[in-house]
Subunit: 184 residues, 2 copies
Amino acid sequence: MYEVEVKVRADHERVRERLEALGATHLGTVRQVDTYFDAPDRDFAETDEALRIRREDPGAGSATARVTYKGPLVDAVSKTREEAEAVVADAEATTAVLEGLGFEPAATVRKERDRFEVGEVLVTLDEVEGLGEFVEVETEAAEDVEAERDRVFGVLEDLGLDPGEGIRTSYLGLLLGADRDDRQ
Amino acid sequence: MYEVEVKVRADHERVRERLEALGATHLGTVRQVDTYFDAPDRDFAETDEALRIRREDPGAGSATARVTYKGPLVDAVSKTREEAEAVVADAEATTAVLEGLGFEPAATVRKERDRFEVGEVLVTLDEVEGLGEFVEVETEAAEDVEAERDRVFGVLEDLGLDPGEGIRTSYLGLLLGADRDDRQ
């Protein structure tokens, strides 16, 4: 399964109006704290991979954690890449296992995510600490990546956003001030 | 926290009689399937480390999975080593994350474990597929490793077993026929 995703800087107020006009479904808001790790054997910035532990809190004390591996880009424009993700019971214990293996926490990204669904396309309004407001439009493709990319571009245009302004640099990369980094 | 542990080959029937005489508490029986991984950047057999995913089924369909990192030996006689362990929701998804990072499943150990407690010492009767019957006596030490080792040796003697016959080779190592390997 591939993730097809485009991210742009966008004023949330205007996008919310468009989402309402499109009849989007509001999925909910969560707070996410992402810790990215460096590898002992290679430079993830160079190999275009990422290892992340995400703590997600949708409120009411029901925090969850997931560990995710992101592989190198398959399609550069849409940020399509392979991904493997596992739910874990305890972010701290999982960090200890990764540290034993030689992975080291390198940086942390904190954000509020507000999620909507337009058809089968996911639209996410991100307020990132230290960076500001972004919109991500995303879908999953089992095979026909090109068709999914067209759908994602279509939704961006419906929201008054320009697919040509897609930012390939990840929040992590933006926070670190690196423009060669395109992990999410 | 360190794990202090001694393992010997032993006929289970005799040991069960001794456990009963000692008033040991029976904790229960589980089936464990352990998958060990090779690392992309180093030879765990040489560095004396291990990465394992353990699927544990105590019956009644309540299977769980844990991922564990074991560090090099701190004390050779008692097999004391540092350990980090995390509960995961899905062994297959966790395997996919590890494979993304470059770790590869190398070998699998299957066994039935019958657990008892004598005082604060854990006594485990292992029936290992392809290897036969073993007894492990184990405790955890925050600081005074030597005192914990003496307790472990004492329980072995109470069970009619000889601490001098401790096997440092792991089940994995025994299965692979390697005697330099001493991971559990």
